[in-house]
């Protein structure tokens, strides 16, 4: 895949993380933390697994950590692990209903949030945040999925 395509994908992921950071002031007081950036990354792996491999996940994770992370490595680990899971099950996912896929990606987000809070901020760890975020991220996945699919089909043809 061309570098420009990688850049476009990376900027959409970065846009997702920027959006997360922008709305955090509104959502975190309600114990909700959306993971739009992670969902956008998941979408790209889900949509074009044959083009994005471990090295892409590694590099995207590194850059996200540099721009948005509190520590180098957290997003890299999550991106690499998620990428592997999606690659292994991608064709099975395509047989699944929207509901099943949505549950999977919301669970990925919840797992990421749990790890993040346990590693970086145990004082703020809360089950209510994880549960509420699960439902919000499930809805967010549907929005990300249809929006990104439309973007990929109309503007980003590789």
């Amino acid at each position: 895949m061309k570098l420009t395509n990688h850049l476009i994908i990376f900027f959409t992921i970065l846009g997702g993380f920027w959006f997360d950071a922008s709305i955090s002031l509104l959502t975190i007081p309600f114990n909700v933390e959306p993971c739009i950036g992670l969902l956008v990354f998941c979408y790209w792996i889900f949509a074009i697994p044959e083009k994005l491999h471990s090295s892409s996940a590694f590099m995207y994770g590194l850059l996200v950590d540099l721009f948005f992370g509190q520590v180098i490595g957290l997003h890299m680990i999550v991106f690499v692990a998620t990428s592997y899971l999606i690659h292994v099950y991608v064709f099975r996912f395509r047989l699944f209903s929207y509901l099943q896929v949505t549950i999977f990606f919301a669970a990925v987000c919840t797992f990421f949030l749990a790890c993040k809070y346990l590693i970086l901020s145990p004082a703020n760890y809360s089950y209510s945040l994880l549960i509420l975020s699960f439902f919000v991220n499930a809805l967010a996945w549907l929005a990300v999925y249809f929006l990104m699919r439309s973007f990929r089909r109309n503007f980003f043809i590789i």
Partner: protein, 276 residues
Amino acid sequence: MARTTPTFTPIGKYALAFLISLALMVGDLSYGTFSPLRGFFKASSIYSRLVVSNLFNSLEDSIASFQDKKSLLQSNEMLRRELLQMQAKDFLKRQSDSISKDLIHLEGEFQDLIKNMDIKIFKIASFESKNYLCCSTHELYLSNSKKLEIGSNLPVSNGNSFIGQTTGGHFSLIKVILLSDIEHVLPVKSKNLFCNARGVGKPLFISCVTDHHEDLNGNKVNDPIFTSGLGGIFPKDVLVGTISSVTKLSLDRHEIMIKLIANPLDENYLGILVGS
């Protein structure tokens, strides 16, 4: 969507990438190995955002010059900013004066120190609100457009109380670690209680642990907490917060939770006490 046939995904490369990421994370968490690199990238992104926003502001200004209403709004905004700056300056001046008085009582050799005291006002360039609300790292960046030389470990105030201290900078940005950051320790006092209050990673809260029951000395909820001046960074006797709770950890150990009065979310400008 399926454009290729199912293929085998070898785990080797993923495992390698995972292990490298894990090693980097452990290194960064334990030793802060990549802290300067992260600071550089964050500062670059803030800087480019500022440049873009300045460009937009200049464009807006040129359009506004043709509109009376907009120019009135601008002068209103300017006056508001000036008022905020004056408030912050006034507070810091008072702190500076009180320290000066203390020093005058001491030997004449401290006169040089008083001369060196100065107050600088800076606009907040970037505040990591997401980390502030969710996580343990509480920091912000001040815009140092005049490229003044600001060192590390200088007290930062919002005009009413202290909010944090400087920890260096990148480009024309000054990094400030807030009192509630888990890495920050602030020497405080209340009545006869002296302790080092550490940030708890929650907005507006710091806590200190007393090892002896006598240390509590009757301190109770809502009692005011002041800086003790120990540590040499913050001037003493400045109100920083009130006791919000006292929790018994063991027979002799108590945790005193302190709620800070200075909220960084409410501020646009902050002052740095230079040369204290």
